[in-house]
């Protein structure tokens, strides 16, 4: 599947080549996913920060989304995907962006201000154990561990 994304001349040196982000996003499994940008960012190891992925990055991504990944790995990477500003915690802005991704991009599909505030308040109430206003990895993993559906929904099958 990876080699299909490369052009014909590049396919020989598949292990060294990096596929640009635009091509990765043409994969049917990622095309319509609202978290596509974050997924490319998190799994890419390129120094330029352009989100391009080598074959090993591609394998990494698929192994995390596969059946055989432990739920700890999945929750770790989910945390990094949801952490929009890459500061290591999920604060209010991250949560707001997350909810907007979930409900859709258009203006009419978003939640109103008050609803958003109420929702984020509820989330923080439920998951913030040390009451610092943000959700760190351990708290996130604790919340995820309570939901048995996470492993089956955090899955991409080729």
């Amino acid at each position: 599947r990876f080699s299909e994304l490369l052009s014909k001349e590049e396919r020989e040196s598949i292990l060294q080549k990096r596929v640009p982000k635009s091509k990765i996003l043409t994969l049917p499994e990622l095309r319509a996913n609202p978290f596509q940008d974050r997924i490319c960012w998190v799994f890419s190891t390129s120094e330029d920060g352009d989100g391009s992925m080598s074959f090993e990055d591609f394998l990494d991504m698929l192994s995390v989304f596969s059946d055989s990944a432990t739920s700890e790995i999945k929750s770790h990477y989910a945390f990094r995907i949801f952490d929009f500003d890459d500061d290591g915690t999920l604060d209010r802005k991250d949560l707001e962006k997350l909810v907007n991704c979930l409900t859709g991009e258009g203006d009419e599909t978003r939640l109103s201000e008050s609803e958003m505030d109420q929702l984020i308040q509820n989330i923080l109430e439920e998951s913030d154990i040390d009451k610092d206003g943000t959700i760190n990895l351990s708290e996130f993993q604790h919340v995820i561990s309570r939901s048995p559906d996470f492993a089956s929904s955090f899955k991409i099958v080729l």
Binding site: P28, T70, D85, G88, V99, G104, E115, D132, N136, I144
Partner: protein
């Protein structure tokens, strides 16, 4: 001991490094410091900097933290400490596993490498798989290990083998991937999950499970019972002709075939010693095959194995879906776990967005709902009274209708009307029962819409409960009706087992026909009506609960009928195969995914439990009663000459005892374990004790989690106070000097 010392040393070093910046060792993504947050306007930037370096916020970021975390974990694995897992969890959140800068990284890395080397092969691969660092990291950083470890890092999917087996391992991997893609319906299931998500997928997976059970049952029966009887057909010829009606009624031509109990012989097939001549001819070289024994044993053993498989899959599913912890936390779970990554197509992604939005809004509204009022109590009790009343009404109606049909059939036989007409009359009862099963769920849906339950989960449970009660009570009544009417319908054979088998065959076929009708009317026609007449863009929803209950009902019928009609599993297999494709086509063309939140793994557990408890248990009780207490008919079947079917097993044991006195232990086991009821009570007592123990352990875990949460909240607030106090102290100490 040295590991503990080392950890303590690292902790001390870390404390002195206190306010240093968090260096994300060599990683190109620059994790910036957090800006001063709006919600703490009274804290200065310096305080926030300190806060940002607090352990609770940095634990996910640095790779050094991850490496040291996994170092301690491998160390623990090597020591094989037997502390409960809760201790491990608290340890990994300890402040000692904080960020380390570049210099410390190599130390911890070499420690980690040493630890990994000392683990066994599979544990090592497991630890490596569980490390959330990228592939390149694993490859680059762990070069200290032998070459084959690098190959492990390159293959995160597979298990580890030693170097000589690497070639074989790659071949095996290739074969496995081919097998995975060849899995039945792999592409169809991916298509379905791509459009509708995990919830609808769980219905099709359940169908696959049922198919597996039926294939197993069919194969055992085929090998041990059907094929051997087919090789030695009885002397009597089949007097009837084949007309098309047989496929529906199961009677007529099919009566004298392998399909039914009545066909099977009651003697030992291919017996070299004939009872009349009293001389054996061993020269022929054949194997004698005791048909009655084979019949009862095969059915008994296959039911026993099915029971074990069901209980195993139920416990495994329960283990996967049950979670210790408070049941609150709906919002967080909904937001973090709501997105189903399997959904691929753009249109359906948009639909998923809408669904999530409506769910979030609904939950927000529900949070602020009112308490249970008197009016609601009245509505609820009225709704339940109506549903129970309808069930009773249906049961009474079915009973009287069955009696009436029997009378009509007898009359038509006496009058001598055509065979075809007589057999067509037999179809009416199954049609009526299937009609009830089709119509009542829609009535229950209307009732639920009137009732307006608070939570959608409760709505689903109530609907399942009502439908289940209806189906099981009707089936129970029919079982009683069949067992009490031993004379059956056909008068010439007086072979009641074959008639019961035919009845069950008719029920299975009618159930299939009415499911098709339901798919056609409920989905296709309703969509056309909605689009053309009412001009609404909404499509009918795929009602997962109702469809799964229909599958369970069909499977119960098969299990009930296996004793009387050994080929019934084959019919069920055909039915399930056709149902898969028809349901899939209808789903793709007509339906949309359910708008309510569907907890897929939890509901799968519920369905498997329903398959085990009312369905399989009921069939097993029916079977046991038939084997132990019913007298087989004199004119046909493998148990013609015995008082009960069970007697054949008993006589065999007695013969065994007589022929070889060395096997007395076997007969002792049989006498004291199978026939003695004390053993059964003892086993159930042990089972109940084990379940009680597990419940108590879970309760204990819940309490510990609650206490730990309180402790964390307490410590963090206390830590913040200390920090502020020390900051104030510092300001006070330095201030006057300026």
């Amino acid at each position: 001991m040295e590991e503990q010392e080392l950890e303590q040393e690292l902790e001390l070093r870390e404390l002195t490094l206190g306010g240093r910046e968090n260096l994300a060792a060599g990683r190109t993504e620059a994790w910036e410091e957090p800006e001063p947050r709006a919600e703490h306007p009274d804290f200065s930037s310096a305080t926030l900097l300190i806060l940002a370096n607090m352990p609770s916020r940095t634990i996910g970021r640095s790779r050094g933290a991850i490496i040291s975390q996994f170092y301690s974990r491998t160390a623990k694995l090597r020591r094989r400490s037997s502390r409960p897992p809760l201790h491990q969890m608290s340890r990994s959140a300890r402040p000692s596993l904080r960020q380390y800068d570049l210099e410390l990284d190599s130390d911890t890395q070499s420690l980690l490498v040493k630890e990994l080397q000392s683990l066994s092969g599979s544990q090592r691969s497991h630890m490596l798989q569980a490390m959330p660092v990228s592939l390149a990291e694993k490859q680059g950083r762990l070069e200290g290990l032998q070459g084959w470890l690098r190959r492990v890092a390159l293959a995160p999917f597979s298990d580890l083998g030693s170097v000589p087996l690497q070639g074989f391992r790659s071949l095996w991997d290739g074969f496995l991937s081919l097998l995975h893609s060849l899995q039945p319906w792999h592409h169809s299931l991916k298509q379905i999950s791509g459009r509708f998500g995990s919830s609808v997928l769980s219905y099709f997976l359940f169908l696959k499970t049922l198919l597996a059970f039926n294939v197993f049952l069919f194969l055992t029966l085929l090998i041990f019972v059907v094929a051997t009887q087919a090789a030695y057909p009885p002397a009597a010829e089949n007097s009837r002709l084949f007309t098309g009606l047989e496929l529906l009624t199961g009677a007529g031509y099919f009566t004298q075939t392998l399909m039914y109990y009545g066909y099977y012989s009651n003697f030992t097939l291919n017996d070299p010693c004939t009872p009349s001549s009293r001389s054996c001819q061993p020269g022929k070289g054949h194997l004698p095959y005791n048909m009655p024994l084979a019949y009862v044993f095969t059915i008994g053993v296959s039911f026993f194995i099915t029971c074990i498989l069901l209980v195993y899959s139920m416990s495994r599913s329960f283990g996967e879906s049950y979670r210790v912890g408070s049941t609150s936390g709906d919002f967080a779970i909904k937001v973090f776990c709501a997105w189903d990554y399997k959904v691929i197509q753009r249109r359906f992604v948009r639909l998923q967005n809408e669904n999530i939005r409506t769910q979030l809004k609904a939950s927000a509204a529900q949070r602020s709902s009112t308490r249970l009022q008197l009016g609601r109590m009245v509505v609820l009790s009225l709704a339940w009274a109506v549903s129970v009343g309808t069930v009773l009404g249906c049961v009474v109606a079915v009973y009287y209708f069955a009696e009436h049909m029997l009378k009509v059939h007898r009359d038509s036989q006496d009058r001598g009307s055509s065979e075809a007409w007589q057999e067509a009359l037999l179809l009416v009862l199954p049609m009526v029962v299937s009609l009830i099963n089709l119509v009542m769920p829609y009535l229950y849906n209307l009732l639920a819409a009137w009732e307006k339950q608070e939570s959608p989960a409760l709505e689903v449970y109530v609907a399942i409960c009502r439908n289940l009660i209806l189906k099981m009570v009707v089936l129970g009544l029919l079982c009683y009706h069949w067992l009490s009417r031993k004379m059956g319908y056909s008068s010439e054979d007086k072979c009641w087992e074959t008639s019961v088998g035919q009845e069950l065959y008719r029920f299975v076929v009618m159930d299939f026909v009415f499911t098709l009708l339901d798919t056609f009317l409920g989905e296709l026609l309703w969509r056309l009506i909605l689009e053309k007449k009412l001009m609404r863009k909404q499509r009918p929803e795929f009602d997962i609960a109702r469809n799964v209950l229909e599958l369970i009902y069909g499977q119960t019928l098969t299990w009930l009928g296996v004793l009387f009609c050994p080929l019934l599993p084959a019919v069920q297999i055909l039915k399930l195969l056709l149902l898969f494709y028809i349901k899939k086509t209808s789903l793709m063309k007509n339906c949309q995914s359910p708008s309510k939140l569907w907890r897929a793994s939890h509901m799968s557990t519920v369905f498997i439990t329903l398959l085990c408890f009312p369905s399989f248990l009921g069939a097993a009780i029916f079977l046991s009663y038939t084997i132990w207490a019913m007298r087989p008919s004199r004119a046909c079947g493998p148990f013609r000459t015995q008082e009960t079917i069970y007697e054949s097993g008993k006589t065999w044991i007695q013969e065994l005892e007589k022929s070889s006195p060395n096997i007395t232990w076997f007969t002792w086991i049989h006498q004291h374990l199978v026939e003695n009821t004390f053993f059964l009570f003892f086993v159930s007592g042990v089972l109940l004790a084990v379940i009680y123990l597990h419940i108590q352990v879970v309760k204990g875990h819940r309490r510990i989690i609650r206490l730990l949460k309180e402790q964390i909240a307490h410590v963090s607030s206390w830590g913040l106070c200390m920090l502020l106090a020390s900051y104030c102290l510092m300001c006070g100490t330095w201030g006057p000097r300026d």
